[in-house]
C-alpha cells in the first residue's frame, strides 16, 4: 500500500513536471568537444568528401548534397541524390552530425558507428550507388591518394579505410565559438537582449526545450508534429520512385499505397511511430534552411509560426504541441535566439581532385 502511494506520488509529480513544460528537459549547455580525429585522416577525408570518383557514375560527391557553402546541406527542400533519381527527404546538415546517437531523419542508423553511416550513403541506390571495391580500385589509380592512404591510414586505399577517413573528417565539422555557448559560459553580451528574451521563451512559454534540449538542442527522440506532407514527394515521379523503393527495402507494410512519409514506423513497424521523426539539433539552424524532414518550411519564421499554431494535424501528434499564443514580438525574439545558435562558419575549401594516372600493368 505504501509503495502504491509512493508510486502515485511519483506519477503526480511527473504530471506536474510535464505541465511545467521544460522541467524534464536537460538544461541548455555548451557543446562538448569531441575526441579530436587524427589530423592526417581528417585531411584525407576532406579530399574524399569532394571526390566524385566515389559515386557509381563518378558524377557526385558527398559535397553535392552536403555543401559547406550551403550549411553543409544542399539548400533545397528535398535532396536530389543519385543521377536518374530524386530523393524524398531534406538533406540534413553535417554540422555536428558526429554528436547524434541516431542518424537520418528516421534515426535508422546508430551514431556510434559512423563508418556504417558513411557506407550506407555510398552504397544506397538513391544516394551514390557505388561499389566499395570499385571505389578502392579507382583511388588506387591516383598516386596522391595511394600516398595519403599509406601515410594516414597505414595502407593502400580500401573501402574500410575510405569510410574511416571520412568519419575522421565529419568529426571536424562541428560548431565553434557559438554565441549561445559563450553566453552559457558567462559572457552576458554574447546574446542580444532580443535573443535573451527569445531564450527565455524557448525555455518557458514556447516550450521548445521540451524536445530541443541539452548541449545539442535535441532530445534525440522521435515526435510527431503533424507537418503537412510535401506534395513534391508524390507529385514528382522520381521522388515517389525513391520513396517506394526505400520503404520496400525497409520492409514497410503497404509501401505501394503509402502517400505519407511514415518516418520511424518504417523502421520499427509500430503503428504508434507513424509520422515520427528524430528531433534535429538546432545548432547552426540559421544556416540550414529550408527546414523539417521534408523541407516544407522555408524560414525560421515559418517554423516558429508552425509551432505557434500548435503544430499540424495528425492522429499521432505529440501532446507536447499546443497553440502557444506568442505575440509578433515574441516570435521575433525567438527567431533572434535561434540565430545565435550558429558558431563561426565552418569553411572548408574544396580541393582540386587529383587525376587518374597510368600504373605499371601487373604491379598492383
Amino acid at each position: 500500500m505504501n509503495r502504491l502511494l509512493a508510486l502515485g506520488g511519483v506519477l503526480a509529480a511527473a504530471v506536474l513536471v510535464l505541465a511545467a513544460g521544460a522541467a524534464l528537459a536537460e538544461p541548455l549547455a555548451p557543446l562538448p568537444a569531441l575526441k579530436a580525429p587524427n589530423p592526417d585522416q581528417a585531411e584525407l577525408g576532406r579530399w574524399l568528401f569532394f571526390e566524385t570518383k566515389l559515386s557509381g557514375d563518378a558524377a557526385i560527391s558527398c559535397a553535392t548534397c552536403h555543401d559547406p557553402r550551403k550549411g553543409w546541406g544542399d539548400g533545397k527542400p528535398l535532396s536530389t541524390g543519385y543521377p536518374g533519381s530524386e530523393y524524398f527527404r531534406n538533406s540534413q546538415t553535417l554540422l555536428n552530425a558526429a554528436h547524434y546517437r541516431r542518424n537520418y531523419w528516421d534515426g535508422r542508423m546508430s551514431g556510434r558507428d559512423m563508418a556504417t553511416l558513411v557506407r550506407d550513403h555510398f552504397t544506397e541506390a538513391h544516394f551514390m550507388q557505388a561499389d566499395g571495391r570499385l571505389q578502392a580500385e579507382r583511388l588506387k589509380q591516383v598516386p596522391e591518394y595511394d600516398e595519403r592512404f599509406r601515410k594516414a591510414m597505414g595502407g593502400e586505399p580500401s573501402f574500410g579505410r575510405i569510410l574511416n577517413a571520412l568519419v575522421a573528417f565529419v568529426g571536424t565539422v562541428t560548431s565553434r565559438n557559438a554565441p549561445i555557448d559563450r553566453y552559457l559560459r558567462g559572457e552576458a553580451g554574447a546574446l542580444t537582449p532580443a535573443a535573451q528574451e527569445g531564450m527565455r521563451l524557448f525555455q518557458g512559454k514556447a516550450g521548445c526545450i521540451q524536445c530541443h534540449d541539452g548541449a545539442l538542442l535535441s532530445d534525440q527522440k522521435f515526435h510527431v508534429l503533424g507537418l503537412p506532407e510535401n506534395p513534391q514527394v508524390f507529385q514528382g515521379p522520381l521522388r515517389h520512385i525513391s520513396f517506394r523503393r526505400f520503404m520496400k527495402t525497409l520492409g514497410a507494410p503497404n509501401y505501394d499505397n503509402l502517400r505519407e512519409d511514415i518516418g520511424l514506423a518504417a523502421v520499427t513497424k509500430e503503428p504508434q511511430d507513424r509520422g515520427k521523426f528524430r528531433t534535429p539539433s538546432l545548432r547552426e539552424v540559421s544556416r540550414t534552411a529550408p527546414y523539417m524532414h521534408n523541407g516544407s518550411l522555408a524560414t525560421l519564421g515559418d517554423v516558429v509560426d508552425f509551432y505557434n499554431r500548435g503544430g499540424g494535424a495528425h492522429p499521432n501528434k505529440s501532446s507536447l504541441l499546443r497553440p502557444l499564443g506568442l505575440s509578433d514580438g515574441e516570435t521575433k525574439a525567438l527567431v533572434a535566439f535561434l540565430e545565435h545558435l550558429a558558431g563561426d562558419p565552418v569553411v572548408v575549401e574544396a580541393p582540386t581532385p587529383p587525376d587518374y594516372k597510368l600504373r605499371t600493368l601487373g604491379k598492383n
Binding site: 557509381g56 543521377p83 536518374g84 533519381s85 541506390a125 520512385i241 525513391s242 523503393r245 505501394d256 601487373g362
Partner: protein, 378 residues
C-alpha cells in the same frame, strides 16, 4: 535423340553439296558433340519463359530503356546497338559512365542459341545475362529494386507487364524475361544467309571461292575443330594466346576495371597483385589450367560484328585469319589444337569469303521504340 539425327541429315546434305569425303577427317574436337554445319534449329525457349508477341514487344521497349540502369543513362542498346551489329563497335566496350569496360561487347545476334553467355560462359541463359549486365558495376550499375519501382511509375509498362505476366505491378525478374524473349527473335534466318541457302540446296548460294573456303574451314585450316555445329561454336573453352589489348596499358579507367574484376571475382591475392590481363575462365574455376580460356563465339553474322576476340584486338577478319595461320599466340596453356596452318594468300582469301557467307545479306536491325513516360500515381 533429335540432335544426332539432325546432325546426320545435315552431314549428308553437306556431303552431297560438297562432294563426298570432304568432312572426313575433320571430326577431331574433344567434346564429341555434333560438328556438322548447317542452318540454326528453332530457337530454344525455356519452359518457364514462353514466347509471345506481346512479350517480345515489351522486351524490345525494355532493351532500349535507359531507366534499367543505375543513373538512367545506359540501356542494353547502349552497348548492344542494332546499328553496330548489336555490339558497341569498340574494341573493348565503353561500359557504365565513370568506368570503362574490360571486354569486347558481344553481339546479341544469335545469342539465343548459346547455353553459355559472356566471354567466359559466366551465365547460362539470356535471362541471367540481362540481370548480370544491368546490375554489374561496370555495365549497367542498376539496383534491382530501384529499377522495379521505376517500371512501376510508368503506366504503360504496368499495363503491358500485367497483360504479359499477369502481375498487378511490374516485377524486375519479369523485365529480364521480356528482354530475353525479345533477344530470342534477334536471330539469323536461313533464307537470308548464303551458307544456309547453300546447305539447303541452293547451288548458286556460294561462289567457288566460298566453297573452297568451306573446304579449308573444315579441313586444312581446322576452324571446325571449335567452330562447329549450326552455331559454329563448340561452346567449349579454349586458350588462343590472343595478343594483349593495348587499352590496359593506355587507359587508367581500363586498369581500374581490370583490377576490380580480379577483386570482385575473388582471386587469390597474389593473382590480384600481378593482374595484367583477362584470365577468362579462371575467374570462375580458379584453376590455373583455365587461365586465358574463353568460350568459342559463333561465327554467324561476323560481317557486322567487328572488332573481334574477347578484347577486340583484331579489327578485321584478315587479322583474325593471319593470327590462326601463325598457330595463334604464344601463351603457356595455349590450346594444342592451334598449329601453324601454312595457308597461301589465295587460301586466306577463300576462307574470308566463306566466313562472310555466314552472315545475313542485310544487317539484322530493329527500330528503337518510343519509350513511355513516368506519370504521377494516384
Amino acid at each position: 535423340m533429335r540432335q544426332p539425327r539432325r546432325a546426320i541429315v545435315i552431314t549428308l546434305v553437306l556431303g552431297l553439296a560438297l562432294g563426298a569425303g570432304l568432312l572426313v577427317g575433320t571430326v577431331t574436337a574433344q567434346s564429341g558433340k555434333p560438328l556438322a554445319l548447317g542452318p540454326l534449329p528453332p530457337v530454344p525457349v525455356p519452359r518457364d519463359n514462353p514466347m509471345s508477341s506481346e512479350k517480345v514487344e515489351l522486351g524490345r521497349m525494355l532493351f532500349f530503356d535507359p531507366r534499367l540502369s543505375g543513373d538512367a543513362s545506359t540501356s542494353c542498346a547502349s552497348c548492344h546497338d542494332p546499328q553496330k551489329g548489336w555490339g558497341d563497335g569498340g574494341d573493348v566496350s565503353r561500359g557504365y559512365p565513370g568506368t570503362q569496360h574490360w571486354r569486347n561487347s558481344q553481339t546479341v545476334l544469335n545469342a539465343a542459341h548459346y547455353t553459355k553467355l559472356f566471354w567466359a560462359g559466366e551465365v547460362t541463359s539470356l535471362e541471367g545475362q540481362a540481370v548480370a549486365a544491368a546490375t554489374g558495376n561496370v555495365a549497367g550499375n542498376g539496383d534491382p529494386m530501384m529499377m522495379e519501382e521505376r517500371l512501376r511509375q510508368i503506366p504503360e509498362y504496368v499495363r503491358r507487364f500485367k497483360a504479359v505476366f499477369g502481375t498487378e505491378r511490374p516485377l524486375i525478374g519479369d523485365a529480364w524475361k521480356a528482354i530475353a524473349t525479345f533477344e530470342r527473335t534477334v536471330v539469323s534466318k536461313a533464307e537470308n544467309v548464303p551458307f544456309d541457302r547453300h546447305v539447303k540446296g541452293d547451288a548458286r548460294a556460294l561462289s567457288d571461292d566460298a566453297r573452297r573456303g568451306l573446304a579449308l574451314f573444315s579441313a586444312k585450316a581446322g576452324c571446325i575443330q571449335c567452330h562447329s555445329g549450326p552455331l559454329l561454336s563448340d561452346e567449349s573453352y579454349h586458350s588462343l594466346g590472343v595478343p594483349k589489348s593495348p587499352v590496359f596499358e593506355e587507359d587508367p579507367l581500363r586498369q581500374i576495371t581490370l583490377r576490380y574484376q580480379h577483386v570482385s571475382r575473388g582471386v587469390p591475392e597474389p593473382v590480384y597483385r600481378t593482374a595484367d590481363r583477362d584470365l577468362g575462365l579462371y575467374y570462375t574455376t580458379k584453376r590455373d589450367e583455365d587461365r586465358g580460356k574463353f568460350r568459342t563465339p559463333t561465327l554467324r553474322e561476323l560481317k557486322y560484328t567487328a572488332p573481334y576476340m574477347h578484347n577486340g584486338v583484331f579489327f578485321t577478319l584478315e587479322e583474325v585469319i593471319d593470327f590462326y595461320d601463325q598457330g595463334g599466340g604464344n601463351e603457356p596453356g595455349k590450346s594444342p589444337l592451334l598449329k601453324p596452318l601454312k595457308l597461301t594468300v589465295q587460301e586466306k582469301k577463300d576462307l574470308l569469303v566463306f566466313l562472310l557467307s555466314l552472315s545475313s545479306d542485310q544487317p539484322i536491325t530493329v527500330p528503337a521504340p518510343r519509350l513511355p513516360d513516368y506519370a504521377v500515381l494516384k
